[in-house]
Symmetry: C2
Subunit: 410 residues, 2 copies
């Protein structure tokens, strides 16, 4: 390392906390800790205790966010992420950013720096959207009213207010972003992709979180007996769908930007029987990019592909946009602090977009926000095989600590 | 008409019987009369009574076939089909061929011709395969032993022997084909396709029942996050499946014979989520033709399409043949009797393959067999919208009666 930080973190303590947290909802190597599950609530109680032991004022808020803050009047950097997981998830997804916050706050308090710089550590509730995606960060940013909150529901049908009540969070004080006190939001996260590993970089500095547009492509023909109706007399929605998607892949590849990604994750034929000509086909097609202009161009290429199909009275095509999440740019000034901090302590890095959503997407609408990625082994996430080398976990925390120092000119 | 028949059928009685039979399991316009259902068993009792009233010796056999024969020593033509239906079926599918047999036998008896020519009228059990496809005809032809019969099971899980017992057929005498007494098998059926209507022909003379080969195409890649993994690093089984099927449609169209049909009736991606790159795709692809050589060529083109895909370490392809039903040629001499009979009474006709399976497929392995089709309105079947013009129903029966006369040189 070229230079050390004043905020010197404790690697052993960091790793121990991450491993202790991974005991809640533990699977073989991953965790199952969906929001408001027993494991999630227990993990949040454990986290509150660790915050208190570190000397933070810790509380649950009214939706189950765990919030620990240094007990001073100094302006504060929020460091957070989430401790809930997908049904079968990895041990670092979300937990990493929360425990980084805990370790950095603890180090600051130990070093007697808490009067100069405050830290708010937060584990947001339900980032993974078991009941309502980014519930905790949206509520913290006052984006989510009681009416909308009441619509949240789990796949098993439990209503969100009932989950809040059952978990003992009902009636807690609301906690909200305070732009008079909060300086910035920093979120560290595993990459959940293979790019850092492939590029042999230790950290990624997130330029922004991609926008997502999702489309339902419906192709309608007519069911027929697949033995008795000659090929020339069929209205085969399945064959039409295959032709459409084949053309769409070609068209999109011509339109794409350097960072664009797309996916046809689902296709279904109805009625779906081997001996029946498909009456209907449905394709779910998704495009992601950081740039609104490129998203627009990609969307246009979907419509253009449909329009370019030779008119055929037998088949109808319907394109419906079902999701349109705008891209979230990260703050360039704040991201530069991460870049300079990484360079200052000799950590290899690259700029990259985030292809997945994070709580920073919400926070960035209210306060300057930045994200730091560490590598995912084989790019895996949302699976038990998610993992990161311990040296990368430690390096990421050091860069984040140095970034806090850089922001606050300690 | 150029010439009348000695066997003069009664059109009103024919239509009344068909309409009476359609009351069993009646839906709005179609029927729901799956084998061994209450409606099916009641319909079979009704049929036995009509046979007895017509002067036939009528019995149920040990699997629920209804068998009525003229009470003479004369050699006999079997006229049959089935009275069971698919869960939501039409009123003529199967019933037509059975009631034609009843009406022709009744006319022969009334005309005092039964000592010259006998008729066996049969409604075979479970042609539609609720428990076991062509159960009744296979048992009648001694193709189905008790062991194989015991494996039959309904979609709701009822075992075939239990259904036989519950329906009161257990312990009845077996009835079997008797090549010393039976001259031929004749089956009339609705076309279940649009060709007769499109060609404006009153009857179709079936050259054979197509062979069916069914294939499962499995394409395996790897699941990835559809946001975080760059396009170049994906192992997208879905995109590979679309490319494969697009090429296969082109290759098959080059290989096809004049009567070939094919169908990709089902395609599925796993895990099938919008934001996950498909790890696996499965396509069900079916080919049908009368000619074994053409079926072989079509099958080869499936394997060739897979082989021609550029080698890609990321994707594996597996082709499995799951069904291989050989084509069944109808007897040309017997079919010529239908042709000459139709021409003799001035009925427009065409030769055509049957794209769907029928009991005649089984019978043709044991006795000279032929089939006659009448038009289906809009080509529809296996649906409540299945129907045929009354004049076509009557014409078909007249041609079949004339055919019986022709075979037996009455």
């Amino acid at each position: 390392m070229k230079q050390t930080s004043r905020i010197e973190i404790n690697p052993e303590r960091l790793l121990k906390d991450l491993k202790d947290l991974a005991q809640f909802g533990r699977l073989t190597t991953g965790v199952s800790r969906v929001s408001f599950s027993e494991a999630d609530v227990q993990a949040r109680h454990w986290l509150k205790t660790q915050m208190e032991r570190a000397g933070l004022n810790a509380e649950f808020d009214a939706v189950g966010n765990v919030h620990g803050r240094t007990n001073t009047d100094a302006k504060s950097v929020i460091i957070g992420s989430h401790t809930d997981s997908v049904p079968v998830g990895g041990w670092l997804d979300g937990s990493l950013g929360v425990i980084y916050g805990l370790e950095i706050a603890r180090s600051i308090i130990e070093l007697g720096l808490a009067n100069e710089i405050g830290i708010d550590v937060i584990s947001f509730m339900d980032e993974e959207g078991t009941y309502l995606p980014c519930l905790g960060s949206k509520r913290f940013c006052r984006e989510l009213g009681d009416d909308e909150l009441a619509k949240g529901q789990s796949p098993s049908g439990e209503r969100l207010p009932d989950a809040v009540e059952r978990s003992g969070f009902m009636g807690n004080p609301e906690m909200s972003i305070d732009r008079a006190r909060h300086l910035a939001y920093l979120e560290a996260h595993i990459e959940q992709g293979p790019r850092l590993e492939a590029s042999r970089k230790e950290i990624g500095i997130v330029t922004g979180i991609v926008g997502i547009r999702r489309f339902k492509l419906e192709i309608t023909g007519e069911a027929d007996h697949a033995g008795t109706v000659p090929m020339s007399m069929r209205k085969d929605a399945g064959a039409a769908a295959i032709g459409l998607l084949h053309s769409l892949y070609k068209e999109i590849a011509k339109t794409k930007g350097p960072e664009s990604v797309w996916n046809a994750g689902s296709i279904k034929f109805e009625p779906g029987a081997a001996n029946v000509v498909p009456a209907k086909a449905e394709i779910i097609f998704e495009i992601r990019d950081l740039e609104p202009d490129i998203l627009n161009a990609l969307e246009t290429s979907i419509h253009k592909t449909v329009e370019n199909i030779s008119p055929d009275d037998n088949i109808t095509y319907l394109v419906t946009k079902t999701i349109d999440i705008p891209p979230s740019a990260m703050d360039t000034g704040l991201s530069d602090h991460i870049l300079r901090s990484a360079n200052a302590i000799g950590v290899s890095n690259m700029k990259m977009p985030s292809g997945a959503g994070h709580d920073a997407m919400v926070l960035s609408r209210h306060i300057q926000s930045a994200m730091l990625f560490i590598p995912s082994i084989n790019g895996k996430s949302h699976s038990e095989s998610e993992d990161t080398l311990e040296e990368h976990i430690i390096t990421g925390c050091r860069v984040l600590a140095k970034t806090v120092e850089s922001i606050t000119s300690l």
